[in-house]
Amino acid sequence: MEKDEQCLLYLPRSSSFLLFLAGAFTLIAIRILYVVNRSGKPLRPVNRKPVSTLIVLGSGGHTAEMLNLLSVLQKDIFLPRYYVAAATDNMSLQKARMFENSSSDETVVEAAKFMQIYRSREVGQSYMTSVGTTLIAIAHAFWLISKMRPQVILCNGPGTCIPLCGIAFLFKVVGFRWSSIFYVESIARVKRLSLSGLLLYKLRIADQLYVQWPQLQQKYPRALYVGCLM
């Protein structure tokens, strides 16, 4: 008799816990669907104030392409500007500094900040150790995004943008900050998206994903074809 009573006591508690879990998951799922749906739609209302901007740089042609894009964006709208490059990338932040210094407007130049982030994985690194370094990179991305809380994120391909965009998306879901994420696929990508581009496209993390060749627009209908930037 006692045993049955005890069993009856336990049952409601575990089922109410399960109910709570189910409810929480449902709410999160609804919120994620809302965020994904709202991303890709232009912001409203019409904006007049400057927007803090995170700019992700990368080795190879990535930084050159990004600076090329920045040269046509108005420096008094996208500020403050936070430049982030991988810790092992020596040239990119230097190039970004030179780019900022070449601007003639003093007040606008002071709005630039330069930071480094740990890389998820170096070229050729074993996949075993990559798990650890990726976790470190994610934690570091969390720290950086929390500090910056950028309203705009500009990236064009390096793997360093994935933890940053992932965390920014998480912040969108949780409601800490709504970042508009713009991804410009590299001009070197003609027929296939890079891994970063593919992830941001498929997971619908980027608000807008731009491609520079028509073949990519045909293959990925939600991408926007903008012609060659270089």
Partner: protein, 194 residues
Amino acid sequence: MGLADENGDPKKIVFVTVGTTLFDALVIGVDTPQIKKELYAKGYTHLLIQIGRGSYIPSREVKLLILTGRGKLSENSNGEDGSLAVDYFTFSSSIADSLRSASLVISHAGSGSIFETLRLGKPLIVVVNEDLMDNHQAELAEELADRKHLLCARPQTLHRTLVDMNLESLIPYPPGDAKPVAKLINRFLGFPEE
């Protein structure tokens, strides 16, 4: 914009670049008698190779010059054919000067080197590195070759490409424009589109 050597004879430089990469197959391929002979036959006088992180070192070749009776410097004319002068370096902070003084550029398939060369309006042969994993670079080189902005080759086909090349048939690359993207970004954020 003609360069000249000691005599005031025109210099025609072939500049080979591998960027920041390691691409011994290209450096070795270019440093063969076959290729150098072909370049010389086409009227080039100098070969300058930027070898990057490569381990293969080409041999420098200086033109042999003798002073003729009339005080003019001329190439060694004891029956040998004249030859290409060859020089190399590993890196430089900017290859812009080397590109500017070149009459022909042979480059690895990196987008930076490609577009820097095309923007200067120089004839370009891109050599794709087949040792690279997941070679997406080849896509860009092939697309631009299809559009006749450059010639595309592999290390083994470089000689054939040089023999058959008709640089007159290349079409200048129209400069890119980042303003369409800027417009879309501004519009999305609710800013005036300019």
